[in-house]
């Protein structure tokens, strides 16, 4: 009898650790992959409206991000953590914020800067203070202002042309409204047949991705709702067109994909609401009164800096704390 238990028991294979002994199958890599999947509609829309060069630009950003990740890991003598997928997401996001005509070296530099300076210098994944993709974009805007602000109308859907030829320079809908008082029709904004960065033009594609992230439980409603809600409410209250501001510019990609970045947004439920409100207020202020037509980039970067402070003041009440004893 006693043999039956010992027969199939190899004590060297026994793990003795403290509880719990079960773990979810949800992984960091799975989460990053979900974000990448959620960005696919935007990538498809960018390719459809701006041609295959859009794909090349996005790929160059991802390549730059991967190279920087590999280089930094090598220099630190660490295993190259490409498996976690965070470089993929950073590269994708950065690519989607670029204009449709930039040369590929812009993407390479931007991707490398985003990972190298935006993330690795702080110690790597989970430790960076600012959203890496936005750091990359901010760097590119500051260094190559002309390249980074030259937008072109998308080609007709049938015309899959290479870059450069027959490109017509134009302004983004936000710039048109700001300086020329020209309103772009809602439908064009919604579909994305407008001038602008690759990924911010199609509201439809971004909403699809955002809903996917919400549905999968990757992101929580608090930041997107408070962010977008604040922008629309303030616009409406001051006589602007809330729907236009909802659809135009980088608000949707910012609210769903960038402000919700785990590492650089508050972890507390109330903190998320405050963070979204702050992003919304700054976006409204920059769009309405600032020197730029668009304010999403700097709004989120500025709010990133406030995250430790917001968290400190929004810690949840711990169970049983503040309850008086013998309450019965």
């Amino acid at each position: 009898m006693a043999l039956s238990v010992e027969e199939n028991l190899d004590r060297s294979r026994l793990t003795v650790t403290s509880s719990p002994h079960l773990q979810t199958r949800v992984t960091v890599r799975g989460i990053m992959l979900d974000v990448a999947i959620a960005l696919l509609p935007a990538v498809v829309a960018a390719t459809y409206f701006f041609g295959p060069w859009a794909l090349a630009i996005i790929a160059s950003c991802i390549a730059g991000a991967f190279l920087a990740e590999a280089g930094v890991s090598w220099a630190r003598g660490r295993e190259i953590p490409l498996y976690d997928g965070s470089a993929l997401v950073t590269g994708l996001l950065l690519g989607l914020t670029l204009p449709s005509d930039v040369p590929l070296w812009i993407g390479l530099i931007g991707g490398a800067f985003a990972i190298g300076i935006g993330k690795a210098i702080f110690g790597g994944l989970g430790l960076n203070m600012f959203n890496p993709a936005l750091v990359g974009r901010a760097f590119l805007v500051a260094s190559f202002p002309v390249l980074m602000t030259t937008f072109r109308w998308p080609h007709d859907s049938g015309a899959w042309m290479g870059s450069g030829f027959d490109a017509v320079s134009t302004a983004t809908p936000l710039a048109l409204l700001r300086w020329s008082d020209v309103a772009t029709p809602y439908f064009e904004l919604f579909i994305g047949r407008i001038g602008g960065s690759l990924g911010e033009t199609s509201a439809l594609a971004l909403l699809l991705g955002g809903l996917y992230l919400l549905g999968r439980g990757v992101i929580n409603w608090r930041i997107p709702v408070s962010y977008i809600g604040t922008v629309m409410l303030l616009t409406w209250a001051t006589g602007g067109d809330p729907l236009f501001h909802f659809l135009a510019g980088g608000l949707l990609i910012g609210a769903f994909f960038m402000a919700t970045d785990y590492v650089t947004s508050p972890i507390t439920p109330r903190g998320k609401l405050i963070f979204g409100f702050g992003c919304g207020f700054l976006t409204y202020a920059i769009r309405g009164f600032g020197g730029y037509p668009e304010g999403v980039l700097y709004s989120i970067l500025l709010m990133n800096a406030t995250v430790p402070l917001i968290e400190r003041f929004t810690l949840p009440r711990v169970f049983g704390v503040g309850v008086k004893t013998d309450a019965n």
């Binding site: 238990v5 773990q23 994944l125 711990v318 309850v323």
Partner: protein, 442 residues
């Protein structure tokens, strides 16, 4: 009607189908039992039989005879689980790793019942004090796993009053089905036990809380309760629904204060098996010398629910269940969320042993830790609304600010972490630091 619940928690796979329809089988008493003198939270017992006579090697004992007791209030006596001869008063290892004094009895195979055991009289004629004495003498402790002496719970300090008794049939730990089976097979005794506790404490409201994934148990308890006025409350299927403070919050809306006890809000929570033990102690004078244990896991040949004598080595349970189909990656005492991993099969079953599990690494995987990405899932699931990721940092002054002592060690944070961070083990370190601080300040 939506089932009641608390805020937070996780949904680990249940694995209960392995044993939920297996009726309780009696494990033949072993030839030799090792009975630890401490099987409860509190002071250890001394090897004494009644009348303060010391127990010695070579003494003959009967089944159910008291073999260990102490003057301390927070303690519960232990009893012989076989009849036979005391062959050693030595030590035994427990599943948490402690080595404690223990009495080894060699069975004579007769199961000769102790003369001390007999009915204690009608419940209606017993005073609250008498009921508490019976419960204490029967060595009854919380049989859900915590093993806190039951009579202590029914003795609130001056000024506090108890108005509600909750019988806990949640059994939210994966794999475990012993409470489910107890509810299906002994529902009448659970209700009797509840009645006794109400009488002992003077509380009026009696509630039986059961997770909604046990519809048959809910039905069985409703039938047993009849029109007695006790409530059977279905609860949402979620871990840790059966955690004492979370259960009280879910059912009554009352929040046990930080650092406090359920009796601070007028409630006592007892496991269903504890209620059965109380019923037996009153009806037939039987002390706790056996309990129902779930033997399960994906590598156990024939998972089962067994009625096991206290002091039986864990090895005997696995042997009865046909051994392992492959070498397990982990052997656990208790459930997979809060149970203890063990490597020693000679560890005896004690009053608080609810399950013995053997799992492969397909179920109990141990993935590499990755960097925290601050996703906040641990914050979302924490049933005490802590910030697990901050309390789990290197145990220092900063980590101490995040209320480590309020952690109930349910393990939901570690379970949910996509970066596989060992959050709970590190929070335990922070707790130890906080406790050390508190002691040095006294």
């Amino acid at each position: 009607m939506a089932a009641k619940t608390f805020r937070g928690g996780v949904h680990p796979p249940e694995f209960k189908e392995l044993t939920s329809s297996s009726a309780i089988e009696t494990l033949p008493p072993p030839d030799r039992v090792v009975i630890p003198l401490i099987q409860h939270i509190g002071a250890p017992c001394e090897p004494v039989i009644a009348d303060e006579t010391t127990l010695s090697k070579g003494d003959k004992v009967d089944l159910g005879q008291k073999i260990g007791d102490t003057e301390a209030f927070v303690a519960a006596p232990v009893h012989a689980s076989v009849s036979g001869e005391v062959v050693e008063i030595g030590e035994a290892r427990l599943s948490d790793g402690r080595v404690v004094p223990a009495i080894t009895i060699e069975s004579d195979g007769e199961d000769r019942l102790s003369e001390d055991i007999g009915p204690t009289g009608e419940l209606a004629n017993l005073s609250p004090g008498e009921i508490k004495d019976i419960i204490r003498e029967a060595g009854i402790v919380g049989m859900g796993g915590a093993a806190f002496p039951a009579h202590v719970k029914y003795s609130p300090p001056e000024g506090a009053t108890l108005d509600t008794i909750i019988i806990n049939g949640c059994e939210c730990e994966p794999f475990l089905t012993c409470d489910d089976r107890v509810m299906l097979e002994y529902p009448g005794e659970i209700v009797f036990g509840l009645e006794a506790i109400l009488k002992a404490t003077g509380a009026e409201r009696g509630i039986i809380g059961i997770e909604a994934n046990k519809p048959e148990a809910i039905e069985a308890m409703r039938t047993a309760v009849g029109d007695s006025g006790y409530e059977v409350v279905p609860l949402q299927v979620k871990y840790p629904e059966g955690a004492e403070k979370q259960l009280i919050k879910a059912i009554t809306g009352r929040e046990v204060p930080s650092g406090g006890l359920p009796l601070n809000v007028g409630v006592v929570v007892n496991n269903v098996a504890t209620a059965v033990a109380i019923a037996r102690a009153i009806k037939s004078g039987t002390p706790v010398y056996e309990r129902v244990v779930t033997v399960s896991g994906d590598v156990v040949a024939r998972p089962a629910n067994l009625l096991v004598r206290v002091g039986t080595p864990i090895r005997a349970l696995f042997e009865y269940c046909g051994g392992f189909t492959e070498s397990p990656a982990r052997i656990l005492s208790g459930g997979p969320m809060m149970g203890q991993a063990i490597a020693d099969l000679d560890i005896p079953v004690v009053k608080g042993t609810s399950g013995i599990l053997a799992l492969s690494d397909r179920v109990a995987a141990m993935e590499e830790e990755e960097p925290c990405i601050r996703c906040g899932r641990c914050v979302d699931v924490c049933p005490t609304y802590m910030m697990p990721l901050f309390a789990a940092r290197y145990p220092d002054e900063e980590a101490l600010e995040y209320n480590p002592l309020d952690c109930i060690e349910c393990g939901s944070c570690s379970y949910i972490c996509p970066a596989n961070q060992r959050l709970l083990p590190r929070i335990r370190l922070t707790k130890m630091l906080a406790q050390a601080r508190a002691r040095s300040e006294e």
